[in-house]
Symmetry: C2
Subunit: 332 residues, 2 copies
């Protein structure tokens, strides 16, 4: 159906190699030849078949974009940034939705069938072992929003969730809260575990602070609301560090329904600083996660790995910062 190299060659009256070379930059073609070929190509509406060429060059410019976070609005921004960033570099994202698939091998096999040049795992909940499966299969991989490890097996770009936990704890203590709780996201998520451990390691130094914790079963409004409604039934804490902004918003809604006020009766601090957090009717105090930088850096790392597949694995950690809005009582 589509026009092939051969047809262009025939029309231009040159060899197939000549046509191939005009469309390969860096190849040796005279100006005269190039013009002749380009004319023929234009007349015929030819455009080279990227897949066929990948067969010999070994590069498809396809990059697997793998995620299981299709319910958290911040991931729409993540996808936006990734797709645009990859496109700008001539790479094509092959999107893989892991929602109902947890076996890394299946994804690895699939992406190898399509000869992707690399894979980006964009998820804060998948375990490090998942991305390792790609590396073991010889597929360059970057785990964005993944767990930081001091001896990373694969490239990781993200934040230090342990430090975020500490930061939240310090902030709450500084505001004078003395009965503090951790309301985490899914218990199995690495991000939840790390924030938990940072949070409580910091609070360990404060013997006068009463602590408690629980987990929501998803990073979602409903999960947050449900869990908070449960907590409100019996002796709630003075302030909660929530696993995520969207969870926090559910929590806020539960509190509002119960007739209590934020921040007067209960303080809330979230994490992510998603767009909604600054909506005037939410106005959530939260910890900012530098999504844009994480994505940009992930793409740069991916691009670097295409030229240097055995690059020594590194972890790139970006600092987070508190964004003060209206859901914690003020310092003074």
């Amino acid at each position: 159906m589509a026009i092939t190299l051969k047809e262009v060659a025939e029309r231009a009256g040159v060899s197939r190699s000549a046509v191939s070379r005009t469309f390969t930059d860096g190849a040796s073609v005279s100006e005269k030849m190039r013009r002749k070929v380009e004319k023929a190509a234009r007349d015929l509406g030819y455009s080279p078949n990227a897949l066929a060429s990948s067969l010999t060059t070994g590069r498809t410019k396809l990059v697997g974009l793998i995620s299981n976070n299709f319910h958290n609005p911040i991931f729409l921004e993540v996808f936006d940034l990734f797709t645009r960033g990859l496109q700008d570099r001539g790479l094509r994202p092959l999107l893989v939705n892991l929602t109902d698939e947890t076996d890394p091998q299946a994804s690895v096999r699939m992406l190898r069938q399509y000869s992707v040049d690399g894979a980006v795992v964009a998820s804060s909940t998948l375990p490090p072992g998942f991305s390792k499966a790609f590396r073991d299969a010889g597929v360059p991989v970057v785990h964005s929003f993944g767990r930081y490890s001091s001896a990373p097996q694969v490239h990781v770009v993200g934040i230090d969730n342990v430090e975020c936990g500490r930061m939240a704890a310090r902030t709450l203590v500084a505001r004078g809260y003395r009965k503090i709780a951790f309301l985490g996201g899914p218990e199995g998520a690495t991000s939840t575990q790390d924030r938990y451990s940072g949070f409580f390691s910091e609070l360990g130094a404060h013997r006068d602070v009463k602590t408690s914790y629980s987990f929501a079963d998803a990073y979602s409004f409903d999960a947050g609301r449900r869990e908070m409604l449960r907590l409100l039934k019996s002796d709630p804490a003075e302030a909660y560090f929530c696993g995520d902004d969207v969870l926090s918003i559910g929590v806020l809604s539960a509190i509002a329904d119960s007739g209590l006020r934020v921040p007067e009766d209960i303080g809330i601090i979230g994490l992510n600083d998603m767009e909604m957090a600054r909506w005037e009717n939410i106005n959530l105090t939260t910890i900012h996660q530098p999504i844009r930088q994480i994505v940009t850096s992930s793409i740069e790392l991916m691009v670097a790995m295409l030229d240097e597949p055995d690059r020594y694995p590194e972890a790139r950690i970006f600092p987070c910062s508190i964004v003060e809005r209206g859901t914690l009582r003020s310092l003074s």
Copy 2:
């Protein structure tokens, strides 16, 4: 790097064709041969190269998933549904972000280079001409959330936006509002235009209703809030039909800030019924758009077209319905 057909053939001591046939269903292979080949393949960790086979079969199982809506949370759900639905049918979504690209030809060329089997345009703002460019290039295309036309040039799956406009108008009139406004999304979007025309065609029959209209410059919280703050300065209407839920939420926030109450002072009706609309702290009355059905139907249509590329174009229109929540005064 990866294991090839030839290596498996050598190890199994059979011809390359034999190996190829064991991995092609419907091909003639004896049980004995199949076992021999499968053993060799397993030992070597072979998996066939989908791209190489596409060269001869003419099918890549790649489907372009094209959108420019990377800021509206409902599209995260749309992407979720599309990726899972396509995956379930063995198709692979190649994601194309059109945010900073408006020339259809560039996308068409790119997707042809990757020999996609088809393309899904998922956007309520792209003009019909955009998807037509794919059809003209011989790429099977479905425009999801696209403009309905009685003589569609390409397959369209979506809702009747004109009827939605009418529905909103009827609802507002029935609630006794007599000073009614249209607060649309981007003026250039086909969905905005259609809702506008339906809305005012219905109101044309009511001479006693005062009308007005304006447009937000994006389907976003900020745009809605900004526009509403402007409108509130001078003689606002009694009720607004907003182009979209996320716009409505921005509008609600502006109204709350101004000290007015919803629905007592101003009524709001949105469109989409996104997840957030039913959050207890938002509780938006809106028009439900059956996203799940639209996506499922789009995928079915896409799959059908793979077998029958010249299928006669059809429009599949799904009915919308009003979801009554708390932002319009009650009927009584």
